[in-house]
């Protein structure tokens, strides 16, 4: 069994496709909706004026497994988190696999195991899927796409347009862990570290913040590709406002800081997979911080800055010396294929 590999015929729609679906997917993801194996999953909707949230992400991370996670764990957490930061309760996911011919069956099974575990942990069901196989050399092992749907309760509105001067910016812990962990794994730099990816489903933590602070929560976003800086710049631009963060307040692990210094990178631009930036009205900031810190995924949470008067579209960093500098988007990337 451990020698078995994916064949082109596993993507054919014929008997081997069926065998793959039954053996690898149904056993691990199985639920009544998926088991029906229809062209579409049919899902009951609430009847109360809620809105539907729809999101999608493809995952191409290299390597497939790294300390703290895998492409499978990322594929579930990334989509769950995208729904959660939109204010939605994540409910249902689709999963599309592109497999390279020759991929060991056992690798696929480990990835799917991770997906099943994360789906259970975050309370979502994988209800429909698709598998394609491409010839050897036409894809790098395994790519996954997940799309997700969730329900946004009537009246909930989270968006950069709700940002107001004075709003407080929080984050639920240290930045850059995922990006630097994957890089250390990949580049084999000989840096010894306990560092692991922060990949985690944030919907539980986010639900608690929304419960505690209600409409005082104005906007949330998970700071993935492009890191904290990309998120803040998107907010400053979409919300037509100016944001300021304090260098001394942004939590960074010592080993992440050291690796970044050695390599000429910045942790503020490095990807996270378990970090959410939350903007709340100033009067709710303390309650939000306490709620986040009480959650196991928010132990190192901090208030990192606020929305300030200033030129719309700008993000400022106040350094430890009190100087301010622009934190603008970089043109490209520090590190490709990070998720």
């Amino acid at each position: 069994m451990s020698d078995e590999r994916i064949l082109l015929a596993h993507g054919s729609g014929g008997q081997l496709s069926h065998e793959l679906v039954s053996r690898v997917f149904l056993g691990r993801f199985g639920n009544d909706t998926l088991n029906a194996l229809g062209d579409s999953a049919l899902l009951d909707l609430p009847n109360d004026g809620s809105r539907l949230a729809l999101t999608t992400d493809s995952f191409v991370v290299s390597p497939l497994f790294f300390r703290g996670g895998s492409i499978g764990k990322l594929a579930i957490c990334g989509t769950v988190n995208d729904l959660a930061v939109a204010g939605a309760k994540p409910l249902y996911l689709s999963a599309g696999f592109i497999l390279e011919e020759g991929l060991p069956y056992e690798v696929l099974e480990r990835v799917v195991d991770d997906m099943a575990r994360m789906a259970a942990q975050s309370g979502v069901q994988i209800v429909t899927g698709d598998t394609k196989v491409v010839n050897h050399g036409a894809a790098d092992g395994l790519f996954i796409n997940t799309a997700g749907v969730g329900i946004v309760p009537l009246g909930r509105e989270l968006s950069p347009q709700r940002l107001r001067v004075g709003d407080v910016l929080l984050i639920n812990g240290t930045v850059g862990d995922h990006g630097i962990a994957v890089m250390l794994e990949r580049e084999n730099l000989g840096l010894r570290s306990e560092l692991a990816s922060d990949c985690a489903p944030l919907n539980g933590l986010i639900a608690e913040v929304l419960e505690a602070c209600g409409d005082a929560v104005h906007c949330m976003r998970d700071a993935t590709r492009g890191g904290l800086v990309a998120t803040l710049n998107e907010w400053a631009e979409s919300g037509a406002c100016c944001l300021q963060v304090e260098e001394t307040a942004i939590p960074v692990r010592e080993d992440v800081r050291a690796a970044c210094e050695l390599l000429g990178l910045s942790p503020y631009y490095a990807a996270n997979e378990g970090k959410v930036v939350i903007a709340v009205a100033p009067e709710a900031a303390d309650a939000a911080l306490r709620t986040i810190q009480a959650h196991e995924l928010g132990r190192n949470a901090a208030i990192i800055g606020q929305v300030v008067e200033g030129k719309a579209g700008r993000v400022l960093l106040r350094t430890s010396l009190g100087a301010r500098r622009l934190l603008d988007m970089i043109v490209g990337d520090q590190l490709p294929r990070i998720c």
Copy 2:
């Protein structure tokens, strides 16, 4: 402009990512929901007990362009059709792109043009998306995943479990066109033919059949990978029934038949991208056939068989000589990367 190519940095989440999204996607797919560029698209739901249909497909066809279509056209039609055969009105799509570094910008733009055209034609909006770029050699040009949501009206129920002995099986035209067209394109066999892929959105035709025949429509499926035979076998298995089709009744183009004979293939196993198999109660068969034939995508529609007494899970072909033989699933595939 025509020399521009996709760079790794286009997938970084930085400025080049934003430029790609604005320049290539927003201009072509643009709608208020997509333009908001949130983590999730937020969609209004009906308030009347309808169900949601969710489906996904990845597209890896090679070559990217072929007579009658492209990977972009496939990516829209495939997902629209999966929703439509579930009885849903297709409404919203997500689009996830995996791009190989070095892909000419112009190729991506042509693909996205096709997607935009097909989305408009089939009445769906692309409301959220994602782009990843992998290094040269790690993917073959361009892969697309689309997920789709649609609404199934209260009380509509289409499934193989509704198949009954006597139900009539119809198809909206010739089988195998897509599979053989792509193969001729790819293999450069020197066979001259007017053959084009049948790739098309079927939601309009399907809506007309449902309007005309209502609850007498028991099951529908688009016969894609694995062709007509895969669809019939899935029905026979899921519906625990026996199906019989008539060799003389199944429409096949002469050039498809000739190519298949030359190559030792069967058109019944070849992929379609614009063909739907429909099972209706016998009293509705004539109305269904007339409705389909009146639609431009159903000119060559035919009644091809029915649900018969017999061993559950079997599909029988009655040949032109009156003999019956099993039409079972093949283990692998005639042709990989057909969609």
